[in-house]
């Protein structure tokens, strides 16, 4: 019987620091034919420290390597940050569903992200960068605490060739950025409300961003949200990630806002 919990080792090929507390790990493929869709995640394992779900952040058509951006927040991620080039990380997956990109072909796209949560939507941005004619116009709204929390900063010039990138910082040190939460960008910039939206951020962000988007006339069916949850099994058994009748690990992590409204989880926020 196949053991669904078996991890496969990936070699660390490169480590790139991102902001003050994150690092991007470029990794070798854990096994032959490893492939993923944008929005999916893997369970990252480090013997002695356990496992944690981490979003895949590289371009999904890249066959030679894949990337994970990991923020130092707990014991496992701190231990991962100590690793050097040539060390290995255990990987199982990919798991979960993905952001539907097919429906966005030829249309406007809006990406809304907060902090480290730009990670799962980066594959969409890289898709637009690699295929400049695939989408009509790609808008990115990215909000962070301050300059030190910005992720993938070196890539912004490259993104800007194809995408319209707007940045908002809670406490900016310079005047270069819009001051405020990511929601303030909706008042600064006009976005066509027919855009397909891909949203990822901390739970608190969803409440305000979704309110704003509905106010601006977005269709709940065109808003796709990636949720973060505690996960152990990643295959819909252990119950940690459950909301209503669904499992974020298996049925998600991506849900349309229309779906989320129907979950009827009266007592827990999405």
């Amino acid at each position: 019987m196949i053991n669904d919990y078996q991890t496969y080792n990936s070699k660390i090929l490169k480590i790139t620091p991102e902001g003050s507390d994150s690092k991007t790990f470029t990794l070798s493929m854990p096994y032959k034919d490893f492939a993923f869709e944008p929005g999916q995640y893997v369970m990252v394992s480090l013997p002695g420290f356990g496992e944690s779900p981490i979003s895949l952040t590289s371009y999904f058509n890249e066959k030679r390597f894949f990337e994970l951006t990991i923020r130092r927040v707990g014991s496992l991620t701190s231990a991962v940050h100590e690793l050097k080039k040539g060390d290995t990380l255990g990987i199982r997956g990919p798991y979960g569903n993905s952001f539907p990109l097919g429906i966005a072909k030829g249309k406007n796209i809006l990406i809304v992200a907060g902090g480290i949560a730009i990670e799962p939507v980066r594959p969409i941005i890289l898709d637009a960068v690699n295929n400049p004619k695939k989408y009509k116009k790609v808008y990115i709204f990215y909000g962070c605490r301050d300059e030190s929390a910005l992720i993938y900063e070196k890539e912004y010039p490259q993104w800007r060739k194809v995408c319209d990138l707007s940045l908002a910082l809670d406490n900016p040190a310079t005047k270069k950025y819009t001051k405020g939460m990511v929601t303030t960008l909706f008042d600064v910039k006009d976005i066509p409300s027919d855009a397909i939206a891909y949203v990822c951020g901390p739970p608190i962000m969803y409440k305000f961003v979704l309110e704003k988007m509905l106010e601006k006339g977005f269709n709940p069916e065109n808003i796709y949200i990636s949720l973060e949850r505690h996960m152990d099994c990643a295959q819909g058994v252990c119950q940690h990630c459950a909301i209503g009748t669904k499992y974020v690990c298996k049925d998600g992590p991506v849900f349309s806002y229309a779906e989320l409204k129907d979950f009827k989880t009266w007592l827990s926020p999405i």
Partner: protein
């Protein structure tokens, strides 16, 4: 199978196998444990304190051994075990666990080495209407190896697997009828009691029920241990003293604990980054798992009506009463 034949059969079981069965302990409590003496065996309508999941899905299971970055599968090393005297309620619970852990290498390894002998004794405290009485046609939707159906003081014997037939053959008993497992779903469709509670919780939400329970529940998690179908687990690594070596384990978890939905450690900007914080949220999650999520995922009731949670609850929260309240809220809203 008359009393004499039953004695011979059980003696045969005990002689060659590890038999786990209901028996009274020194405190006078009915427990499930390894059977040493045949005279200790208790088969009757009373339900044992704990459920069979202690032996089918042990509280702690080693999953892997690791040495540096090499991680090796460690399946449970288990000798053949026989569950003797599993009530139909508990058979329903095991049938659900079999579905949930269908793809799970660890559970399947234990299941492969377990023979389940059910009985038709119906507990008096049962509130699950489907099992308020035993009828033969209910057997094809339960998973077992051998089934003892009480009939005029004797047992009528059914088998549910080749393993069960072989065991009976080897003991010298041949008068059995085979029942082919027809899957968990009955001909008449979904269980009506299950459907109404699910509908009530999803479409006729009454916040007061949960606020009240939230005030009484003390989040001890005893119900999750007592419940025969609470199967949440968490995984963690345990290091040995020898550097770089250890094991990856999984243990029962409880949705009443704060860590259950905790994400991303405890950081300065997210000191309580968790999805459920209030007691009301947690107890709602527990009921939602049993009465909404499990039926929606497996088309099976996520509660078999054994009442073990009620029996163990230090705050006297009565699951039968809560069910009535949930249904009453629906009734009221419909009017």
């Amino acid at each position: 199978m008359n009393k004499e034949q039953f004695k011979k059969f059980t003696e045969h079981l005990l002689k060659n196998n590890k038999v786990i069965a209901p028996q009274y302990n020194a405190e006078g409590k009915l427990i499930i444990d390894e059977l040493r003496e045949l005279s200790d065996l208790f088969l009757g309508p009373e339900l044992p304190l704990d459920s069979w999941k202690w032996f089918m899905l042990p509280p702690k299971m080693k999953m892997f051994d690791y040495k540096k970055n090499v991680i090796t599968e460690a399946l449970p090393k288990i000798k053949k075990q026989i569950f003797l005297g599993v009530s139909i309620l508990d058979l329903q619970a095991l049938t659900l666990l079999n579905q949930v852990f269908e793809q799970d290498a660890y559970y399947q390894e234990i299941k492969k080495n377990t023979i389940i002998i059910g009985t038709s004794h119906v507990p008096k405290e049962n509130f699950y209407q489907y099992f308020s009485s035993f009828e033969e046609n209910k057997l094809e939707h339960l998973q077992f190896d051998i089934f003892l159906a009480l009939q005029n003081g004797d047992y009528k014997i059914y088998t549910g697997s080749e393993d069960g037939q072989r065991l009976l053959d080897n003991s010298g008993y041949k008068d059995y009828q085979h029942i082919e497992y027809a899957g968990p779903i009955r001909e008449e469709g979904l269980d009506q009691q299950m459907v109404s509670v699910m509908d009530a919780m999803q479409n006729y939400h009454d916040q007061k029920i949960w606020d009240d329970l939230g005030k009484r529940c003390m989040q001890c998690g005893k119900c999750t241990i007592a419940c025969p179908v609470c199967f949440c687990f968490r995984m963690f690594d345990k290091s040995y003293l020898e550097k770089g070596s250890g094991e990856r384990d999984r243990v029962w978890d409880s949705c009443y604990y704060n860590e259950f939905t905790q994400v991303a450690g405890v950081t300065p900007d997210a000191p309580k980054h968790r999805m459920m914080s209030t007691t009301a949220q947690k107890i709602y999650f527990w009921y939602e798992h049993h009465f909404v999520r499990t039926p929606a995922t497996y088309s099976l009731p996520g509660c078999v009506g054994c009442g073990r949670c009620t029996r163990t609850c230090p705050a006297d929260i009565d699951i039968f009463q809560t069910q009535k309240d949930i249904l009453a809220a629906r009734q009221k809203a419909k009017k």
